[in-house]
Symmetry: C2
Subunit: 161 residues, 2 copies
């Protein structure tokens, strides 16, 4: 049970947008440098994120991406699914289906649903507010030359929940 880089990078990139695309859009070059993710891979990922309606794009010079909705309305599950990371533990092959299930089929279906619900209950905003991310983000901003860090002062800091 692991996550592919697609899913992980997608969440990281979306978090980057949530942190930096407050006023106007942010280019993938910026995201790429801040999060050390290859530019071409990011472009590929953002195709999916856009198709899923999670981000809007602005073409041309000074263009970039921004969140299509408020960060509180985007869940971890939304991002993972968009990044084509299935949240499905069940066996979808030849041996076992909903019609001819194996002994544990129901278990996996059930478990997948619970995981989905869990991941769906965590919004991008929840993540961004966490102490870990806040400090990481500050570091990334400071490291960047000529970029004055701007932060959301937040009283409800938490450790992910």
């Amino acid at each position: 049970m692991k996550l592919t880089t697609k899913g992980r990078y997608a969440v990281t990139a979306m978090m980057d947008l949530a942190l930096h695309a407050k006023i106007d859009c942010v280019s993938l070059v910026d995201v790429s440098e801040r999060q050390t993710i290859s530019l071409s891979y990011l472009e590929q990922l953002f195709r999916n994120l856009k198709k899923a309606g999670l981000v809007n794009s602005v073409r041309g010079a000074k263009g970039g991406y921004m969140l299509a909705k408020a960060d509180k309305d985007i869940s971890l599950a939304d991002i993972l699914v968009a990044a084509d990371e299935q949240i499905n533990l069940a066996c979808g092959g030849s041996a076992c289906s909903d019609e001819t299930p194996c002994l544990t089929h129901g278990l996996w279906v059930n478990l997948s649903q619970q995981f989905y619900q869990f991941l769906n209950s965590k919004s991008l905003n929840d993540l961004v507010k966490s102490r870990d991310v806040q400090t990481m983000a500050t570091m990334q901003d400071v490291t960047q030359i000529g970029n004055i860090p701007v932060h959301i002062s937040n009283d409800t800091e938490n450790d992910y929940v």
Copy 2:
């Protein structure tokens, strides 16, 4: 986020033991036939399950496997880990470690822990008691020729959780 067949088969096989190895041990040939899992693959899986101390084996003719502990003392997490199915969503590569974490590193570590705890809270006994599994097991027993179905009559039937 998906499960490999290793993990899935391991749980299925352990469930089979819990259902059928009540009195004496059960051979992998039987498990293989009942659950339609290749024998040689099962043998490979049971190496790990044994190494992890989840099953005991009896060699020679009339030999086989049985649970090493009570089914209520074996958790889903135990089985998955034994079957060498990592419950780890974090990025363990070059880019990101506990020392030099990426923006989302903490998130994945945290999430992994929560998933682990969840899977660790479900015992083999919980699964075996579920209505789905009970009916599936009955079907499998009836299909088998010359095998009189024996069931655990249980008042606390549930649908997984």
